[in-house]
Amino acid sequence: MDEGDTMNGNDTHTLSVFVANKPGVLARIAQVFARRGFNIDSLVVSSTMEGNFSRMTITAKGEASGLQQVIEALRKLIDVVHCVDHTGEDVVVREMALVKAKVTPEERTEALQIADHFAAKTVDLTESSMILMVTGNTDKLDAMIKLMGKFKLIELVRTGKVVMARGDEET
């Protein structure tokens, strides 16, 4: 599977927001979405190479013109340095999921075959359960989680998407 496949221009938008690391910045950004009735599907916030700044990767669903307004409103925030919509661009997209499933010793071989196919790692294994860690793009994670659904899924945690522009392009 090509893990870096291109996101296509559907209703889900992936925004990369580079912000000054100041108190309240996350609340301001969340309000821009909430005020317009948009739901944030995933949100990843982390520090950057520059200590005073953070990077947020936000995915949200919505029709294009409404989201364009959201982007302009985000750019208007004093603490937002820049905001780029990577939807439809050829960028590297990754996400990680931890999948905890009830797997008996008899079922284990099949579960491990699924894990192997998706290059997932077994990060916890007990008599009755296992936790798989899988990374990749959203489609890949969805596919593995679907297959693991034949066992009883106990818990699922996904990190949400992170993106990075390729080559000389800035994220």
Binding site: V19, A20, P23, G24, A27, R28, Q31, R35, F53, S65, Q68, Q69, E72, A73, R75, K76, L77, I78, D79, V80, V81, H82
Partner: protein, 575 residues
């Protein structure tokens, strides 16, 4: 390093003074005591005006800013003191008015612990400020004040809040009071104006035979008035203005058609309906002026000039747009435009001006329009006109032709009742030599009426004209037109005698105006009294309606010039 030992509150006051703040409006309280103390100990030149309610303070700062073009400061305490400013802050935010709001706060180690008079004002105000600060270190104060002033006054202006915990304002400030700003994400203006777009606009204009220029608040903020006048005259293009654009282009100019939109002049609205090109300069195509967005100027070329990129395409998708300060954009555009052949168009509109001239009857009871019209004639329009919100506001917008850049103050976006009177106080303090008149309804005036004490104390010769119809008139009008005249929650029975009320204050004078024949006489007496405020209680007819009117959410084509003969359907648009 400062030569003397100062605390955070003193640093705050000194920094605000250095930024050029002249007035501070506010009301004291526990968490703000160190700041109030600093007003004394620093011997500051900033003049402090004690209000009677914090909402008044915010509107005064707003009125001062709109009347002078300079920001003022609001200083209040934590908790209820801070939340009371909220309506005023939201009003300023909606109308892009610069303001610095300083709120006292509980000591920082009590934040989030429900301390006495603790409110998360930083969180509460977030959607209605341009930016805000919760100050955690005393030494950050000089930088934050500088940033706050810069953010409030540049680009698209707006209110900036500084929340100052008591321990931070009382702690020692050990840094130089001149600090660099740290605003890597703030870009108030584009790096450069897109000159190709300017040429494109000039080309579109050159092809137009029926152009309209739409002047908004941005023209006033960026002081592009001379540029707009030059452009309109060079092109021979008629000009319409928004409610907040009044004064951006002289409404007495022969190319002016006055205000467009829901209660604008019929000829302004008709010009917009029939034009082949509309160019907005510093307006945001507000829902009051476009009616139904997808039917707005369907066959016309739409051009949008705005300093705020988020306004482009928000309501109307323009054919051409330029991001930039109105003055800078027009300076460039004016180099490229030539006279258009608009004679036929102007003649056509002149016909509309005659056919649909604004009118009212002086018989059949006292009319708000009569009073406004008469006062306008008596003063030559040489006054700062302030309004509250409602029917009187719309009539004032129609009848009070505004020529000066800072001579019209009205709450547009927010539509805040109670705005007018305190805003007039701010305006009068900022322009002590000029005549300030405020038109209020009996509803709105009672919302911030306690500021009479403030106006009296400072002997401000404001002419307060209470257009008293004993109703919340605009809502009553809607109920009459769209809800089978079922009046609900609009009857203001129990109003006091406003003239008598004025006399209860020192330095104020009250007048009662009941008959159309007395308008001139009473107004003349009010204009003669300048030792304090005048309150003119004008008992006007109770059920006059404002026309023209475009029902909310309907296209401009559906404008009613006269009262409708039959009951109307309920409007679909917002309020």
């Amino acid at each position: 390093m400062p030569t003397e030992k100062i605390d955070g509150a003193q640093a705050l006051v000194k920094c605000l003074e250095r930024e050029g703040i002249e007035y501070m409006f506010g009301l004291s309280g526990g968490s703000a005591i160190p700041i109030f103390d600093a007003l004394v100990t620093t011997n500051t030149k900033i003049k402090f005006v004690l209000v009677r309610h914090e909402q008044g303070a915010a509107h005064m700062a707003d009125g001062y800013a709109r009347a002078t073009g300079k920001p003022a400061c609001v200083l209040v305490t934590s908790g209820p003191g801070a939340t009371n400013t909220l309506t005023g802050v939201m009003t300023a935010h909606m109308d892009s008015v610069p303001m610095i709001v300083v709120t006292g706060q509980s000591v920082s180690w009590m934040l989030g612990k429900d301390a006495f008079q603790e409110a998360d004002i930083f969180g509460i105000t977030m959607p209605v400020v341009k930016h805000s600060y919760l100050v955690k270190k005393t030494n950050d104060i000089p930088r934050i004040v500088r940033e706050a002033y810069h953010i409030a006054t540049t680009g698209r202006p707006g209110p900036v809040l500084i929340d100052l915990p008591k321990d931070v304002s009382s702690g020692p400030c050990t840094v130089d009071l001149f600090q660099e700003m740290d605003l890597p994400g703030y870009k108030p203006y584009p790096a450069k104006i897109d000159k190709e777009k300017i040429v494109e606009i000039a080309e579109a204009l050159s092809k137009s035979r029926k152009p309209v220029l739409l002047v908004g608040h941005g023209v006033i903020i960026s002081d592009a008035c001379a540029q707009v006048k030059a452009l309109a005259e060079k092109l021979g293009a008629p000009v319409v203005n928004t409610l907040l654009g009044k004064g951006g282009f002289p409404e007495t100019h022969k190319l002016s058609l006055g205000m467009l939109g829901m209660h604008g002049t019929a000829y302004a609205t008709k010009a917009v309906v029939e034009c082949d090109l509309i160019m907005s300069i510093g307006s945001r195509f507000d829902d009051r002026i476009i009616g139904q967005p997808d039917k707005f100027c369907k066959n016309a070329t739409k051009i949008h000039i705005d300093v705020d990129p988020s306004e482009i395409g928000k309501m109307i998708k323009p054919d051409i747009h330029v991001i930039g300060d109105a003055r800078a954009v027009l300076d460039e555009l004016n180099k490229h435009v030539t006279r258009l052949d608009t004679r036929e168009w102007l003649d056509h509109l002149e016909g509309y001006k005659k056919k649909y001239a604004l009118h009212y009857k002086k018989q059949g009871g006292l009319k708000m329009q009569h009073i406004m019209d008469e006062l306008y004639k008596m003063t030559g329009g040489k006054a700062v006109a302030v309004t509250d919100v409602g029917q009187h506001q719309m009539w004032a917008a129609q009848f009070w032709k505004t020529d000066g850049r800072h001579d019209w103050l009205s709450s547009g976006g927010a539509g805040t009742m109670g705005y007018g009177f305190p805003a007039a106080i701010g305006a009068q303090l900022g322009r002590p030599k000029d005549l300030v008149v405020v038109f209020c309804g009996d509803g709105g005036f009672q919302m911030t009426m306690p500021e009479l004490a403030t106006a009296c104390l400072h002997k401000l010769p404001i002419k307060i004209i209470v257009l008293n119809n004993h109703y919340l008139g605009m809502v009553r009008q809607w109920q009459e037109l769209f809800y089978d005249d079922r009046k609900s929650g609009v009857d203001l029975e129990g109003n006091p005698d406003f003239a008598k009320l004025a006399e209860a204050y020192q330095n104020a004078k009250g007048f009662t105006l009941k008959r159309p024949a007395d308008v001139k006489k009473i107004l003349a007496r009010a204009l003669e009294y300048n030792d304090g405020p005048c309150v003119i209680n004008a008992e006007v007819v109770k059920t006059e309606n404002v026309f023209p009117m475009i029902p909310a959410g309907r296209p401009l084509e559906d404008m009613l010039v006269e009262p409708p003969k039959a009951q109307m359907e309920k409007p679909t648009g917002s309020t």
